[in-house]
């Protein structure tokens, strides 16, 4: 096991203690597993709560702060958090304007957030919920759990966060979050499998010289395995998969996201190919973000998310944000 940990059982609590030490601008509740804006609840502002399994850092805790999330609820590694966390977070960030839950579409996350909605509503919090399901590698049908939530989560959290910060009411923040999700599509590839602390060995066996297409962010194998491809070929394949599912009618935000262990040098090089193929296909790019944002522990690989934006969404994207992992403007 090549891990910088004490024991698997304490990784999440340890990380929260480390976050608390590094980010005095956040309220980190280690016992209850919450990361909250220090100034929450902000008067007149809708609260934004997200969460999910740990192992995807900086998602979600790294996105808590002015202009983005009000609170994040980290579960165990790759395990959705429990309802008590989200209910407590909702109570902590509700200023009376209501709270939006941003939920990645996984059975576990959906069930636990739904239970949290019940608990929080019992406490008198007005709640709305938006599901993120952008991953086109998964068929969305009655016979699956539906598309997974991956890279678009960042777009939803940033843009809805900016709307909330600007004082939009709950219904509007919810509608914007929904619009961002509906305008977003992702596809991911893995160059190596992921090793979770609890298991200690890779979740699947991927020989060097092969890659998995259509992977998720939880170490699930993808839909297909192929011999290794070049950066150029991967960009063509990935962008094609995304555009086949949804052809944007306007300019897009591009997220070229690393899965955790792919060096930034490679990600930037991959971005060059993504931009080339987008240009060739006549897709206009409004903004590009390159980095490790929605990760899968030590997995090597990448995903591409495109989000079609109108003027309002672009303005909200450009609006100031002050979190551990995403910062600009002011």
């Amino acid at each position: 096991m090549r891990m910088l940990i004490n024991v698997p059982e304490t990784v999440v609590a340890d990380a929260l203690r480390g976050m608390a030490a590094a980010h005095p601008e956040l309220t980190v509740d280690v016992e209850n597993r919450l990361i909250i804006r220090r100034d929450a609840p902000v008067a007149g502002m809708v609260g934004l709560v997200s969460g999910g399994g740990s192992g995807h850092e900086p998602l979600h805790g790294g996105f808590v702060g002015p202009g983005m999330l009000s609170a994040a609820c980290p579960g165990e590694v790759f395990t959705s958090p429990v309802p008590d966390q989200m209910a407590r977070a909702a109570a902590a960030v509700d200023s009376g304007e209501g709270v939006l839950f941003i939920v990645k579409n996984y059975t576990g996350d959906v069930l636990n957030f739904d239970m949290a909605v019940e608990l929080a509503e019992d406490e008198g919090v007005r709640l709305a919920k938006v599901l993120v399901d952008d991953d086109v590698a998964v068929t969305d049908s009655l016979f699956t759990a539906g598309r997974r939530g991956t890279g678009a989560t960042l777009f939803v959290e940033k843009i809805a966060g900016a709307a909330a910060e600007a004082g939009a009411p709950l219904e509007r923040v919810e509608a914007i979050a929904r619009q961002v999700n509906e305008s977003s599509r992702s596809f991911g590839v893995a160059l190596s499998a992921v090793t979770t602390p609890a298991k200690g060995t890779p979740t699947f066996d991927l020989p060097a010289g092969e890659l998995e297409l259509g992977i998720g962010i939880h170490g699930e194998p993808g839909r297909e395995r192929r011999p290794m491809m070049t950066s150029r070929e991967i960009a063509d394949f990935v962008v094609n998969a995304v555009l086949e599912d949804r052809r944007p009618a306007g300019p897009v935000l591009v997220l070229v996201n690393g899965m955790g262990a792919t060096p930034l040098l490679e990600l930037y090089g991959f971005n060059a190919e993504v931009q080339r193929t987008l240009t060739e296909r006549g897709v206009a790019v409004a903004r590009t973000l390159v980095g490790n944002y929605v990760t899968s522990l030590d997995m090597a690989g990448c995903s591409v998310t495109l989000c079609q934006v109108d003027e309002e969404l672009l303005r909200l994207w450009d609006a100031p944000v002050q979190t551990a992992a995403l910062r600009w403007g002011r």
Binding site: V82, L111, F143, T203, R223
Partner: protein, 201 residues
């Protein structure tokens, strides 16, 4: 008649079995899921054991409702709310009497399993815990002897998930690649039913 102590024995058998098989459950989950099912249930049933040591409800229904609530508050993932609901709904159906008959338990468990199906939207053949739970509760009868039959039915049900293609949960992302693997949730369900048979032995 089955009293609160019987249900405590059941849950502590669950904890023991889950502990013993945790690595295997995680292994199964790593093939078609995210490699956490074993540790999820270990954490959950350890928390159940702990809360039952602190609080000792006297009625079977209360024991199960407390255990179910504890699973929901400590497991997370898909299995936390599902197993939590199974126990809570079963406990609710048992009411607040001090002892229940095997027939009453069978009936209550059927309601619990139905609640799981409703919550998760899965049905038999979707390659989930239901493929073990449904045959198990179908095999339950009016005597505790039927617990062994339920155990066998659950085991068969878990094995029968191998050739299935998953339609619910994480494994459904794999499409046809989910075929050929035993479902971790069906496997843990078989353990939970086996624990029932152990508790009566």
């Amino acid at each position: 008649m089955l009293d609160a102590d019987f249900f405590r024995r059941w849950l502590s058998s669950c904890a023991v079995l889950v502990d013993r098989e945790a690595e295997w459950l995680t292994e199964l989950d790593s093939a078609i899921g995210d490699a956490d099912h074993g540790s999820n249930l270990q954490r959950g049933f350890a928390a159940v054991t702990a809360v039952l040591e602190k609080e000792s409800p006297n009625a079977p229904g209360a024991v199960l409702m407390l255990a179910g609530r504890q699973l929901i508050s400590s497991v997370g993932g898909a299995s936390g709310p599902l197993y939590g609901t199974l126990l809570r709904r079963t406990g609710k159906a048992l009411g607040d009497v001090a002892e229940v008959t095997p027939a009453q338990l069978a009936e209550a468990l059927r309601m619990g399993v139905a609640a799981v199906a409703q919550l998760g939207g899965a049905k038999a053949g979707d390659k989930t815990m239901l493929d073990a739970l449904e045959p198990a509760v179908a095999a339950l009868g009016d005597t505790t002897d039927s617990f062994a039959a339920a155990r066998d039915a659950a085991e068969q049900g878990a094995l029968a998930t191998v050739p299935m293609q998953a339609h619910k949960g994480r494994a459904s992302y794999l499409g046809e690649r989910s075929i050929g693997h035993q479902d971790p949730g069906a496997t843990s369900s078989a353990l939970i039913v086996a624990a029932l048979a152990e508790a009566v032995a």
